[in-house]
Amino acid sequence: MIAQNPRTLADLKASAKATVLSLQGEPAVQQRLAEMGLTSGRQIRMVRVAPLGDPYQIEVLNYHLSLRRRECECVLLATDPA
């Protein structure tokens, strides 16, 4: 199934995996996210969402990172099969 809108990291369900397609938003934020390892083609995994619905915990480059929804929305995901 192909999503209507570009899927972002904020739409990823807990424990689902995905691949980063590209980044969007403010250049400064993009740069920070890329520096933390969120570059295109990178495999990432959504670990969990905090009890109050935000922020998110993700796994990238074998380490765990927490981002707020706002930053997650800057990470566009490739539509993987499965």
């Binding site: 980044l23 740069q31 920070r32 996210l33 890329a34 520096e35 969990r48 109050l52 380490y63 765990h64």
Partner: protein, 726 residues
Amino acid sequence: MATTQATSESLPVIALLGNPNAGKTSAFNMLTGLRRQVANYPGVTVEKASGIIRHNTTKLEVLDLPGAYSLTARSPDEFVVTEILLGHRDDTKPLDAAVVVIDATNLERNLFLASQVLEAGLPTVIALNMTDIAERRGIQIDSDKLADKLGVPVIPIVASTGKGRVALIEAIEKAIGGDKPSPICDWPDAVNQSVEALSAEISKRNGAIGPVTPYELRRCLLDANGEMERKLLASHPDSRALAEFVSEQREKIKASGHSPANLEAEIRYASIADIVSGCLKRTPNTEPTRSERLDNLLTHRVLGTMIFVAVMTITFISVFSWAAPLMDGIEAMFGALAGWVHAALGEGLLATFLTDGVIGGVGSVLVFLPQIMILIALITLLEDCGYLARAAFLMDRVLRVFGLGGRGFVPLLSSFACAIPGVMATRTIECPRERLITILIAPLMACSARIPVYTIFVAAFIPQRMVLGFLPLQGLVFAGMYFFGIVAAAVAALVFRSVLEGRAPTPFILELPSYKKPSIKLILWRSLDRGKVFIQSAGTIILAMSMIIWALLYFPRPADLETKVRGDMQQAGITEPVKIENAVAGEYLRNSYMGRVGKAIEPAVKPLGWDWKIGMATLASFPAREVVVSTLGIIYNLGAGADEESTALRQKLQSATWPDGRKVYNIPVVLSIMVFFALCCQCGGTVAVIKRETNSWKWAAVAFSYMTILAYVGALVVYQVGIRVS
């Protein structure tokens, strides 16, 4: 504050860099043997920490640079690292070598910073830290191969135990004066062309800028709105033309198919993947790691929240109650010392100055140490084992409403014990704006020094009855004062959030490091270090303020005043020496400069429902709010020994009258006093610590002024509404 000693002038200087959580502080301690000097770099809130490495005949000066994920700089604070690396800061000697501490359990991400440092043109050594934990997790790193590929020495260490110290020092020694490393990644032609074009453009216009390295030019092009761009533009004669040129070049890079914002990371991580592929082996684990299983529990909706509440309660209770006996001990010790000096020197100006001014002043500095050291120890424990990041993860959503972040929770909670360690604890907050707001509102939390103030007035004026049959009214008022402080802080945070909106928002990026066993050494060291920093930075200010207030309360002392009081007492038939002494002390105080100021400002405090005695006692307690109780004691001829449990003081307050016979204190007046003390920044230590932590008098002044104004207005409203209602 000059930290460089004459002896270290000629020593080679190296700098320690690394990601947060890479164990840089432990590595610094391992190298220098725990001794370091701390100051602030002027103009920024970054601490300048340095120490000396001694090994056989080797002696090196080492700078501990702030932890960073990248050399990209968007604030003056972040720029400090780059400026020092490039030798551009006047207050820091050019470096002879750089040491990058990297976390072996998180090799790829850590190599990002390392790859940037390799391009700064300094001999570089990589310290591969936490190799023990990596091994246990089935991560094998061939450090020789890694060194080969990076072109710089890679030394495996375990900083927390000291393993690899000698090898690291020897590698640093060998690197100094040696070759500069070569970059590990190639830039696309478009970038290289733009760097050349920019270089030509800058030298053509020939500003007062001097030679600019390709590294700096690339930083300028890639970091939109970065500090490097700001610096180059500022030092160029035609900054507008240069700014245009820079954005043209950025467009060119974009046109070649690269996004300037992501380009650097794409290229570096590609090179890193290449380098790592041959020297890193992970045992693939299909089941969740121990750290992930712990996270399942600790960030669980119900259990995780319960554990969070328990951990925070224990932290708070520890700071609050473990510190109490130590603080009592310090106070008793200084009391005994004062008594001894008094006995040795007898009455007189010198004895009073030494006992009340000097010994009392030093005591009022040291009394904060137990709370500071206990809180910092607990925070370091929570941080080092990895829990603090989870606490921030859990609380972020709640605190964000007020423009704060998850990391603000612990400093704010600890401010209920004392704002001084609370403000010092804001160092764990990465976003400068959030940190500043947290610092500014922390002193509104009802700290332990407010307890005696609330106690005396609640006990004396709030009736002892039950509300709804089971809730004691006195307790409710007490709890209400705590709640009031929180609400005031929340409102203040919202106001600051909108006022400071213009400052660059930092994206919330919080690493959740794997859980590990905390290092006792690090905990003890950090606690001592912060204690030392407090005494150095706040000690002198608190001491000076105590002495000034002492002098204002002591002088002038005309001899005939005492004769007159003694005569009056004799006429009235009062012979008890204690009563006479207290009456004399009271008369001197009322006649002191502070007393006169108190009387002079009576028109200003009358709208609050206060008489000049309350006004004066409030003024005298600006260095430390709890002083108000003993000052009231002296004013009402009870001596300085009166405390919040004193029934005599309660009775005096209850029966105090205006000259026309009306009672001074009623419920609106009492509430107005308590509201004032809840909101006012009556703490010299807090002001001094805010100055130290923001490295600016401006923010200390902002905190002091907004709280004082808020206190006055709050007390005014409460009294004026109160008398109309009652």
